[in-house]
Amino acid sequence: MTETATTGAQQSFQLKGATVPMTSLELLYFDSDSFEATLRDKIRQAPGFFRDVPLVISLEKYQGAANELDFFQMIGICRRHSIHVVGVRGGDDDHNRLARNASLALIPAGAVRERPAPEPDDKIVTEDVQTPASTPQAASPVAARIVTQPVRSGQQVYAPEGDLVILAPVQAGAEVLAAGNIHVYGPLRGRALAGVHGLETARVFCQSLEAELVSIAGHYKISEDLQDQGWKSAVQIQLRDNLLVVTPLDKA
């Protein structure tokens, strides 16, 4: 069976082109302690955002020495925080050789659509990394994920591709994440992270804003910064000029 893949027997797989949104980490220099400290800090700000994401290390702005570029350590640190380093982008031949040794994919720099960084000196920038497609296919629309039960404290609901629609409360201590928009037809008391792969046009809609945190494409506001606008009322939240803007739904 295994050798006859080309001669009529059922193939065990097919290759398809895919565009996978990824997060890239723009490395300036590498020092394991400060790398981990920065990573931990980013995760603390938006825990759900980074969980199990594929990460590309971008070397275009790398200023350190080649012999300090310890990919094995980087992979290990990321692993500890449930982040998966899948490849590197940019860098010179030495860098690429080191990356190959660590079994990382080399992603051509041209295949990337740049996005503005959330904050000027942020080292982690969210953007779309387009992997080269061998047989490009039109992206078909992704149906929203619909949840009818309350999302309780300690629970997490994730829509990795499209929108997330919740017809119940999202409780304090719960977390909802979506690649697209998040709609909560009930009070939003927990954390909502829309556009987790970097979609800056994503929005969050809810019937009562009581959230612990709202994030769109990595730009976030915590509860105390949300209270002076639309608190405990029906609102939508969107990103304008890198700022989260809350507007009442009845004025939308």
Binding site: Q149, P150, V151, R152, S153, G154, Q155, A168, P169, Q171, A172, G173, A174, R189
Partner: protein, 269 residues
């Protein structure tokens, strides 16, 4: 087939054991053959509240490990003869409650009992998960304060995702909110959440409200499930909760602070 009811909360010290003792006594007093199981391995105190600590020979873990039969370990209550207690072990590790072991015991009890009440330990770890896994119904014991409500919410999520019913895709565990240690005066002063607040947040049906009462402490010190204190507010509130659990409609009482006199109570002031 017995109905399996877990009494759970997440947060410690909110009144699970007090509730397990009273609910099981209440069910048994109405003629239902009932067993109450103490899942709090290492910290057993259900037997103290049920006043049978001096009659414990074998325990739940002994049965799981095949060192005793169920009949040897079950203790028959002296006051209500349709009530049995399966005590926890005070000396074993929590991990002694294996899933297969618990299943074996529950399956066997199911054959002869009408109700199995499981007194869960606090937390969301192994013991608590074992106590809720086989549940058909859950009494979520909550105090009117933010941290207790949060933990109850957490337990409700676990009931939805980690119970046997959820894993097998059966009809979900039936959830009941039991608000205990309710102090209307403190609620009125804004020091505690109100019934409405807690119901609004947790969004599950209210089984009952048990007032904070010195009588509960006195009763448990005497080894008496407080439901047997028929004259007390707390005892009556537990009796109401048992009635509702069995499908009766009863109005909620003891929700307001001022002590009502005999006449105003008679004429529903």
């Amino acid at each position: 087939m017995a109905k399996i009811i877990v009494v759970t909360s997440g947060k410690g010290g909110v009144g699970k054991t007090t509730t397990s003792a009273s609910i099981s006594t209440g069910l048994a007093r109405r003629g239902h053959k009932t067993v109450v199981i103490d899942f709090d391995v290492g910290l057993r105190n259900l037997d103290l509240i049920m006043n049978c600590e001096r009659r414990v020979v074998y325990d739940f873990v002994n049965v799981i490990q095949g060192e005793a039969t169920l009949n040897q370990a079950l203790i028959r209550d002296k006051r209500v003869d349709t009530l049995y207690i399966l005590p926890a072990s005070q000396t074993r590790e929590k991990e002694a409650l294996t899933q297969e072991g618990v299943e074996k015991v529950i399956t066997e009890l199911s054959k002869t009992f009408d109700y199995i009440v499981c007194d869960s330990p606090a937390g969301i770890e192994h013991g608590a998960l074992m106590a809720l896994y086989y549940a058909d119904e859950a009494i979520v014991v909550t105090n009117p304060e933010v941290s207790s409500v949060r933990d109850s919410d957490r337990i409700l999520g676990i009931l939805q995702s980690k119970s046997r019913r959820s894993e097998l895709g059966l009809e979900p565990v039936r959830e009941h909110l039991l608000l205990t240690r309710y102090n209307p005066a403190r609620v009125e002063r804004g020091e505690m959440l109100s019934v409405a607040d807690v119901e609004e947040i947790l969004a599950i049906p209210l089984l009952g409200v048990i007032p904070e009462s010195q009588i509960v402490l006195n009763a448990s010190n005497q080894g008496l499930p407080v439901i047997l204190e028929d004259e007390s507010d707390a005892g009556q509130a537990y009796e109401d909760a048992v009635a509702r659990l069995l499908g009766e409609e009863r109005e909620h009482r003891f929700l307001t602070g001022q002590k009502k006199g005999f006449f105003s109570r008679m004429f529903k002031g």
